[in-house]
């Protein structure tokens, strides 16, 4: 087993570690406290939508992928046909 591994050198893992850390730390350093951009956007988008539509918490799916150059934010909200007619309960407070 050892000999086999010696001859068929598997690709090194350290470069992968380096790259993963660089991306992760770039994102962590750029954010202080809770103010990471993608997190901020996520919260504000949800708030804006909640102003107009009553959102069912179970029908919301949020995905983020932090990339090297580009991050993606995917907000998937099911809005029922009659949702716009129903006024959300606390829209006044949230709009302030």
């Amino acid at each position: 087993m050892n000999l086999l591994r010696f001859f068929s050198r598997s690709p090194q893992s350290a470069p992968a570690a380096r790259e993963r850390l660089q991306v992760l730390l770039a994102h962590e350093r750029a954010s202080t406290g809770d103010s990471e951009l993608v997190t901020k956007l996520r919260d504000e988008i949800l708030r804006v939508i909640a102003k107009h539509v009553k959102i069912d918490d179970d029908k919301v799916s949020v995905k983020m992928e932090r990339g090297d150059q580009v991050s993606t934010l995917e907000v998937d909200i099911e809005i029922p046909l009659d949702a716009a007619k129903k006024k959300p309960v606390n829209s006044g407070k949230k709009a302030a």
């Binding site: 050892n2 992760l24 919301v60 799916s61 949020v62 992928e65």
Partner: protein, 271 residues
């Protein structure tokens, strides 16, 4: 109803997070539904070891504070369908971890999963005591080294006094997982032997994980060692430990005790 397992040690750097990822994956690889929960608020790393660090949306504190639903915070592993991660918060203070909040989350997870694996932070503070609070089973991760054994003894004391089970007068099931075991140094007599550690701590042995490059490589690429190098010695040791955790009787082999011809020649010189 699933089982709640806490991975704890007192001392840092002994392999709690590696073990949480590897054992969680090993159970999931056998078809069990598993969630691993990172309790290290402020210094999370389980996401990194499991390769999910870029996909964290919500975390344990968000769920406890009611800012996100539990289902929204769970991250499903990209490789194993039945393996999920609940990450810790990186930015919040650990005071946000309330006993009531943790109880609610653990209760909900227990009813949805076969195994709830709680990765404890080092130390004996709030995060560590909350991680062990609701456990049915404790895995004490120990290195064969004096300070680790001492801290493990301290943690065993806490498991027998500060957990819900202990407070209800029940017996907490505890297992010892010996990690970073180096057979060459053990043979030379420079490392505590398995029997020494077992005698001192006197809790049953769940497994012995040999010190290995494969563990380091697996965390480099962000994959539990049971997935990244499933045929390696540490992976096999974790698979065996997972089977013992499920109640199977699998005999424990001490690494190095049945080394082959090549191992005998090269193994000793290598150290």
């Amino acid at each position: 109803m699933g089982k709640v397992v806490v991975i704890t040690s007192g001392k840092g750097g002994v392999g709690k997070t590696t073990t949480s990822a590897a054992l969680g994956a090993a159970l999931a690889q056998n078809g069990e539904k598993v969630v691993v929960v990172d309790f290290d608020v402020g210094l999370r790393n389980l996401d990194l070891v499991m390769g999910a660090e870029r996909r964290v949306v919500y975390d344990l504190v968000n769920v406890i504070q009611g800012e996100a639903k539990l289902a929204q915070a769970l991250i499903r592993d990209k490789r194993l369908e039945t393996l999920y991660l609940l990450p810790a918060s990186q930015t919040r203070d650990k005071d946000n971890l309330t006993p009531e909040g943790v109880e609610k989350v653990v209760t909900a997870l227990r009813s949805a999963f076969d195994w709830v694996i709680c990765d404890s932070p080092a130390g004996i503070e709030r995060g560590a005591t909350l991680a062990m609070r609701h456990a049915d089973v404790a895995i004490v991760v120990t290195n064969p080294e004096v300070s680790s054994v001492r801290d493990s003894d301290r943690i065993i004391g806490l498991l027998d006094s500060k957990t819900l089970k202990a407070e209800n007068g029940e017996r907490m099931e505890k297992h010892l997982l010996l990690t970073r075991y180096d057979p060459v140094r053990a043979e030379r007599g420079d490392m505590l032997k398995v029997d020494d550690v077992l005698e001192i701590l006197s809790i049953p042995l769940l497994g012995i994980i040999p010190e290995s490059m494969d563990v380091l490589k697996a965390s480099n690429v962000g994959s539990p060692v049971t997935l990244a190098e499933s045929a390696s010695a540490p992976a096999r040791a974790y698979f065996d430990a997972a089977r013992r955790l499920k109640g199977e009787a699998v005999p424990v082999t001490v690494p190095g005790e049945k080394r082959g011809f090549f191992g005998k020649i090269f193994g000793r010189k290598a150290a």
